[in-house]
Symmetry: D2
Subunit: 464 residues, 4 copies
C-alpha cells in the first residue's frame, strides 16, 4: 500500500536547502504563481460584468471583491513590506479590500461589499495585472535573503487565493440561485445514469494512539499543527458519502418535521428558516425534486452525494440513520491510509458526482472535456471511496486549537486562530477545491448552520 | 397677470377633437415618445455597466431595473392588451419588472432587485429597443378607435417614465454615496459664489375659498382631481427656499439635540438614525461641512437651498424658525399666480442652485454648458422665487384623497390612491424633475422620514 | 332641537368669574378629583398583584405604571411647582414614571416598563395616597391666585387620568389575551340575542361652511382649537356602526386575501402580520368564530359593532362595501346635531353592544347589573345611532393641526402637538371612555396599523 | 491522599442492592425530596409577588415559571406515568410549563413566559403543594417494582430542580439589574478587606492517559458518560481564579478596544453589544467601578474572583495574560486530586468571595450567619484554591459528546444531548450551585457569549 509519504500532501514547495537550486526554484514559483492566479481569472470566464458586482448575502462576496482582495493580500503582506520602491494601488483599496485583518487597519463593512460599483471590473483586472507585474518582478529579482523572508508569505498568498477560488464558485452559485431566471455558470452536465454505489460498507478501525496534524516541511496552515498524539477508541467509517437517494428517504420519513432527530439549535433553525430540504433543492409543483447546480436547474440525481447540507442537517441525518458523524481525528486516521485522489476543481465538474460502484471505476467523466482530467479518479478500487474531493465532510468536531497551538504574531496570525469558536471542522475537500491546495491534514471550518459550501456527509459508528 | 390658462400645465397633449388633425397628432406622439424614452437613456450615459446593478437600499432600485420596469409598463398596459399579435419579451420579465401592481400578477420582491445580475444591461437595452419598435408601430398603425383606447395609457406611461427618471438620479446618487470612493455622476459644478438671496420676504394671502386641483383637458394624475373648492384662512408664504446657511444655524443652535423642536416621530428618528445633518452632508474632520452631490463631494454651498431633508427635519426647522410649513392648498393658491419657470432636470444642474437675488437675475448658469438652458430661469424678477424646480417643497398636508376622489378601476387604479397613508405631499418639482412632466397641481408624496429625494423647505406663517 | 350649548361638552368646570362662588368651586373640584382618581382604582379591583406588572407589548404599559404615571403627572406639573414645601416621592419616580415629556427630563425607556418589579403595587398605591393627600391639601388651601395658576393643570391632570383609564382597560385586555388561560377581567356578559339593527340608512348632509373645533370656556385639549371654518361638500353618513356580521361578510368574501381593497401599507401589514380577522377574533377549530373580550372568550356576537380593527382594515372594509370613511369634519358636523348619549365606561359593559334597532330601544342592558346605568342609552330613537360611546370611529383624516394651531409652551405643549404625524383621527369615544371626559369635538388619534383600542367603523358616502 | 472514591461525588443515593434497607431508603428519599423542594421555596423568601412575574430577557424565566416548571417535571415524568389514579393539575399547565421537551408535546413560547400573570404566585404554590403531596404519597406507597422504575426519574427531577435553583438566582439578579432602583435580593455583604490571594502559582501536570467521566453507581447526568480514556499533554494550571483586580488591568490596558486579543466572534460581540466590562459592572461617573450583586450595588471588590464574564471575554483575557483556558480534560484531571470543598449556595453568600491567601484560611465567613456553613471552606490549605464553588470556570472545550455517548430514548433524552452545539463547557460549580448537586465530573455548558451566570476564569498554560 502506498503511504502518504509517497504522496506528499498538498504539493507544497518545500524551501530547498541545497545551494544552486535557487534559480530553478524561482522559476517554479513563478510558474506556480501564474498557474494559481490564472485559474482565478479562468474561473471568471463565463461571467458577464453584471455577475461580478452582487453580494447575495452577507456571508458571500461579489466576484469582483474576490479578485481584488486576493491581490490586496499580496500587495499588503508581500509587496508593501517587501518590495523596495513599490508604489501601491489606489489608497482606498487598502480599506475596500481588507477582509478582516484588524492588525492592518480599518476595513469596509463586510455586508456592504455589494454596494460598490467602482472600481469597475476592468479596473480590478488592471489592479491584478499591476500586482502580478510587481510580484513577478519580486520573484525574479529579490535577493536570496529577501526571498527567504517573503517566500512563506507568497506561498500563503497562493493558498489564500485558492481558498477564494472555492468561495468564488460557491458565492456565484448562491447569487445565481437568487435569480428567478436561474442562470447557469457552466454548460449542462452530461447526464450520468449511474448504477448507484451500492449499500454502505463499514470499515473498521481499532483503538489506538495516533499522530495527528501536519508532518514535515511542506506548506500547511497553522491550524494543522502542532502535530500531536491523540487517543481514538475503535470506530467504523462508511466507505462512501451519503447519496441524495438516501437523504430523500430521511425527508420522506418526515425528517424535517420530527424534532427527535435534531440538535436543539437544529430544530430552531429548521423552523425559523423553514428548511425542508438541502439548499438548492426545489420541488416546483410539489412532486419531483430538482436541484440547482452551477450547470443550471435540473433533476435531482439520486446517486450523487447529497450536498449543501448544514452540520445541523448532517447531524440529524446521522441520528436518523442510526449512526453519527466522525470526529476529525477518526477522519484523519482513515485518510492517512488512502491514496489522495478524487474529483477536485480541476475536473471542472462543479458538482459532486455519483460513485459508479466497484464494477464501474473506469468510466471517465468530464465537465467540459477541454482539459486533461489530471485530478480525476483513477480506476483502482480503494477501500474508502469519495474520501477526497466531491463534498466537504462534516465532522462532529468543533473547530478548536490543537494542543500547543498558538497563532503566529501579527496580521497573519488572524488567518485561522481567531475563528476557533462556534464552527465545525470539515475534511476532505470538494469539487470546488483545488487539488494542489489540499492536504489530508487540511482543516476547513464553517458555522453549523451554513449550507452554501459543497458540504456532504460521511457516517461513522461506535464499536460497542 | 398671466393666468395658468395662458401657460398650460405640464405640456399635456390634449386629445384633439377636430378630424383631420389625427395624423399630425400621431407624429407628435411619436416625437414625444422618443424624446422621453431617449432622455432615460441619455441620463445613463455616464454609467459603467457595474453602476446599473446595485440596489443600495430597499427604497431604491438598480438603474437596470428602472430601464426595464418602464418598458414593462408599456408592454403590460399598452402592447399586450392593445397590439394584436404582439409577442412579448421573456415571460420572466412580467414577474421581475412588475413594481407593485397586484392586479397584474405576482412580482419579484422589491428588496431583492439588486440580486439579479441577469438580464444584463445589454439585454435590458434590447428589451427597450424591442418595446420601442412595437410602440412606434402601434402609434403609427393603430386605428383611430384603437388609438382612442390606448392614448391615455401611452401618455400615462410617458409620465411614469419621467417619474422613474427622477428616481434613477436619486437612486444613483444614493448608491454612489455608499461608496468610499464617492464617484461623481457628472463633472464638477462651476463654483458660483452667489451673493445670497437676501432675507426672506413674506408674501401675504387673504382668506378665501379657492378652486383646487387640476382643471381642463390636459394630462394629470388621478390624485389631482376632482377639482374642488377649499377654504383657506389668510396666510403668509416665504418668497424663497431655506438655504444651507440658514439650516446650518439650526444645526449650530443644537437643533438635532433639542427635542422641543421635533415631532415625536422626528425625535425618535433622530436618535435611532443618529441624524445630525441632512443626508449627504459630511464633516470629515469635525470642522467644515461638505456635501456629496451628483457632481461629487465638495464644499457645502451656503446660499444653495437646503435639500435632502425629511419632512421631520423640515417640520422641526420650521418650528425652530418660528414658522411652519405651508399646506398644499396654500401652496397651490400661491403657485397658480406665478409663472411656471424654474430649474428642472433639463438644465442638467443635478442640484438645487442658489438664487442670485433680485439684483442678479440675469446671470446665466448651466450645468455643463452644452445644451440650451430652455428650462432655466428667466431674468424677470417674480414675487415668489424658487417656486418650481430646484427642490420639492414639503407641505404639512398628509397625502389624502381630494373630496370625491375614487381610484380608477383595474391595475392603473393602483397608481396613486393606494399610497394615501403615512405620506406627506410635496409640491413644486425639483432639479431632477422633467419640466414637461410637471404641473402646478402636481402632488408628489413621500413618507415623512425619507430623505433621498431632492426635498427642500419653504416656510409659511399664520396671520393672526 | 337641543343645541350643544344646552348640553355642555365634557362636563368641563369653567373657571367661575363671579366672586363668592370660589368656595363651592373648590368643593366641586375636590369631588371631581376624588371621583376620577377613585375610578382608576375601582377599575383595578378585579386584578391580582401579578396582573399589574406585565407589559404585553411596547405600545402597552403595566397597570402599575398607569397608576404611578397619573400620580407623577400631578406631582410634576401641580405639586412640585405649585405647593410650597411639597416633599416629593422617591426621586427615581420622576425618571420611572415620566412617559414622554422631554422638557421634564430623561425618562425610563418605554419598552422596559415591564422589567420593573419595584416599586411594588402596594408602594404605588401608597404613592397615589400621598399624592392625593397633597393634592387635596392644595385644592383646599391654595390662595385664589395660586389656584388660578394650577386649576387648568388640575383639570388637565384629571382628563389625563381618564385617558389612562381607557388605556388601562385596553392594555389589560391585551395582556390577558396573550395568556393561553384567557383570563377574564369581568364576569360573563349577559347574552343578548339582539334582533339586529336592520340595514344601514344613510343620512344626507348638504354642502356648507361649518365652524369646527371647540367653542366656549369649558375644558378641551389644545388640538380641538382654534375653532375655525371648514368647507364640506355634501355627504352621506351611515346611521350606525358596522356590525360583526357585516365585517364577517367581508372576511368571507376573501377580504384579507384580495389586495384590491387595501392601501399599500394595509396589504403589506396584512401579509407581514398575517392578519385574517380583527384582533381578538379566534377560530379555534377552523369553523365558528370566537372573540376574546374583557369578559372572557365567547362566541362572536354578530349584531355587535365590529371592534379592534385598524384604520387599514376600516379603510379596506369601506372600499369593499362601496363606501368610504368619513372625514373628521363630516363627523363633527353630524355629531353637533345629535344628543350626546351612548354607552361609555360608566355603563361597565366593557365591550361595544348591539344596537337593538328602532323597535327595541327600551331594552336596558347592563354589564353586571350592579350599578345604575346612568350613561346608558335612552329610549328615544335618534336619527344617528351609536354616534357616541361603543367604539371609536376611524375617520379618513390624518391627525394634523387645525389652522392657526400652536402647541403651548413648555412640557404641557408636548401633550398633543408632537404626535401630529402618521396617525389618524378617531371620533366618538368608546365603551372604555369616561363620559365626563368626552366632548363632541374630541379628537383621538392612533397610528393606522394599531388595533388594541376599541375602534370601529362608521361608513360615509360621496354625493355625486 | 484521599481519593474521590472516599468522597463520593454529588451525594447521589445509590440504589441499594440489599433487601431490608428498602424502607430506610424511602425515608431518605422523602427527606431529600423535602430538602431540595424546600430550598427552592426558601430561595423565594425575599421576593415580593411582583418579583415572580417578570422575564427580563429571553434567556431568563420568571421566578414563578421556575417554581411551576420544576413541579411540571415531576408531574410529567413521574406522577402521570407512575401514579395510578393521579389526577393532574390544570391541563393548560402541561403546555405552559414545558420548557423544551418536544417529545412531551407542544409548549408555550419561551420568550413569552413573562406575559403570563396567571396562574398567580399563590396558585403556583398550590400547584407545588399538590405535587408534593402526590410525590410523597408515591414515595411512601409505591411497590418495590414501581419504585425501581421511578426512582431514577425522581433523582433526576431533584437535580433538575437544583439546576433551576441556580437559574432562579441568576435570573432574579438579571431582573433586578434592569431596575433603576437596583433592588437587592439579600442584605448587604459584610465588607471583607481581604489581603488578596497573592500571585498566581502554577501547578504542573505531566502528560498521561487518564480516565475521564463519571465512575460508579451514584447519580450523574448522561453527558458525563461513558467513562473513557483521554490523552492529555503536559500542562500547567493556575492555583486560583482570576481576580477583579487582574481583570481590571486587562480593561485598563484597553483590553476591550484591542482586537488582537479577541476571537472573531468576540470582537464582533464587543462592538455590537458595546461591552466595556463584565456584566453588572458600572462606572456611574466615569471613575470608580461598582458592581451590582444579589446584595445590591456596591464597590467592586478587587480581590474577589471576576465573574459574569463570557467565554469570549475569558478567552481574550487569557490571551492578554499570555496564557489560555484549560480544556475540560485538564480541569477534570486536576479536580480529581483535590478535596471537594468550596463556597456553594448553601453558604448563602450569593457572590464569589476573595480567597484569603495561604495565611488566612481559617477565617470563616458567612452570608448571613444564620445557618450552619456546612458547605463552606475548611481550613486545610490545598494546592489548588477555589476549584469548586465560587464561579463556574470556562474551559476551552466545546460541549460535545464523550466517545460512545448516546442520548437516552424518549423525552429524558432531550435533557443534555441536544444542546451539544455552539456551547462551551464550564466546570466547578458556583456560589449559586447546590453542593449536593455537584460532582467533579459535572459538565455545565453555556453559549460563549452569555454572561448572566456566575462564570469566572482559571488560567492554564502549555508546557513547552
Amino acid at each position: 500500500m502506498k503511504t502518504h509519504l509517497d504522496d506528499p500532501e498538498g504539493g507544497g514547495i518545500a524551501a530547498p536547502a541545497e545551494p544552486g537550486r535557487e534559480e530553478s526554484s524561482r522559476a517554479t514559483w513563478r510558474e506556480r504563481y501564474r498557474e494559481v492566479r490564472g485559474l482565478t481569472e479562468a474561473l471568471c470566464t463565463p461571467l458577464h460584468t453584471e455577475d461580478y458586482v452582487i453580494q447575495s448575502m452577507p456571508d458571500a462576496s461579489p466576484a469582483k471583491w474576490h479578485l481584488a482582495h486576493t491581490s490586496w493580500f499580496f500587495e499588503t503582506f508581500v509587496l508593501k513590506p517587501g518590495l523596495a520602491g513599490y508604489r501601491g494601488s489606489d489608497p482606498h483599496y487598502a480599506y475596500l479590500f481588507n477582509s478582516y485583518y484588524n492588525a492592518v487597519g480599518p476595513m469596509h463593512c463586510r455586508a456592504q461589499r455589494g454596494m460598490i460599483s467602482r472600481p469597475t471590473v476592468q479596473e480590478v483586472h488592471e489592479y491584478r495585472r499591476q500586482t502580478d507585474e510587481a510580484m513577478e518582478g519580486l520573484i525574479a529579482r529579490a535577493s536570496a535573503e529577501e526571498w527567504r523572508q517573503v517566500e512563506p508569505i507568497v506561498e500563503l498568498g497562493l493558498h489564500h487565493e485558492q481558498q477564494h477560488q472555492e468561495l468564488l464558485l460557491t458565492d456565484l452559485k448562491h447569487m445565481f440561485a437568487q435569480n428567478p431566471l436561474r442562470p447557469a455558470y457552466a454548460g449542462p452536465r452530461r447526464t450520468v445514469h449511474a448504477a448507484g454505489p451500492g449499500p454502505v460498507r463499514w470499515r473498521h478501525y481499532e483503538e489506538g494512539v495516533h499522530w495527528i496534524g501536519h508532518e514535515g516541511g511542506g506548506f500547511h496552515f497553522d491550524n494543522e499543527s502542532p502535530r500531536h498524539r491523540a487517543l481514538a477508541p475503535a470506530f467504523q467509517l462508511a466507505d462512501r458519502l451519503v447519496t441524495n437517494r438516501e437523504y430523500l428517504a430521511f425527508i420522506n420519513d418526515e425528517g424535517y418535521r420530527r424534532p427527535e432527530f435534531w440538535l436543539s439549535l437544529g430544530w430552531m433553525t429548521v423552523r425559523d428558516q423553514k428548511w425542508t430540504a438541502p439548499l438548492y433543492w426545489e420541488q416546483p409543483d410539489g412532486d419531483g425534486w430538482r436541484e440547482f447546480t452551477l450547470r443550471g436547474l435540473g433533476e435531482l440525481e439520486p446517486e450523487a452525494p447529497v450536498t449543501h447540507v448544514s452540520y445541523l442537517e448532517a447531524e440529524a441525518y446521522a441520528r436518523w440513520a442510526g449512526a453519527r458523524l466522525p470526529t476529525e481525528v477518526e477522519w484523519e486516521i482513515a485518510a492517512m491510509a488512502e491514496p489522495l485522489r478524487g474529483s477536485f476543481v480541476e475536473a471542472r465538474r462543479f458538482h459532486p458526482s455519483p460513485d459508479a460502484g466497484d464494477g464501474d471505476r473506469t468510466a471517465a467523466e468530464a465537465g467540459n472535456g477541454s482539459e486533461p482530467d489530471e485530478a480525476g479518479r483513477d480506476a483502482e478500487a480503494a477501500e474508502l471511496r469519495q474520501m477526497f474531493g466531491e463534498a466537504w465532510q462534516w465532522t462532529r468536531s468543533a473547530y478548536s486549537p490543537y494542543p500547543g497551538y498558538a497563532a503566529p504574531a501579527g496580521a497573519i496570525g488572524e488567518y485561522n486562530g481567531k475563528f476557533m469558536c462556534n464552527q465545525y471542522v470539515l475534511r476532505g475537500g470538494s469539487c470546488a477545491t483545488a487539488r494542489s491546495h489540499f492536504r489530508r491534514t487540511y482543516r476547513n471550518f464553517f458555522p453549523p448552520e451554513k449550507r452554501w459550501q459543497f458540504t456532504g456527509i460521511r457516517l461513522a459508528r461506535d464499536v460497542r
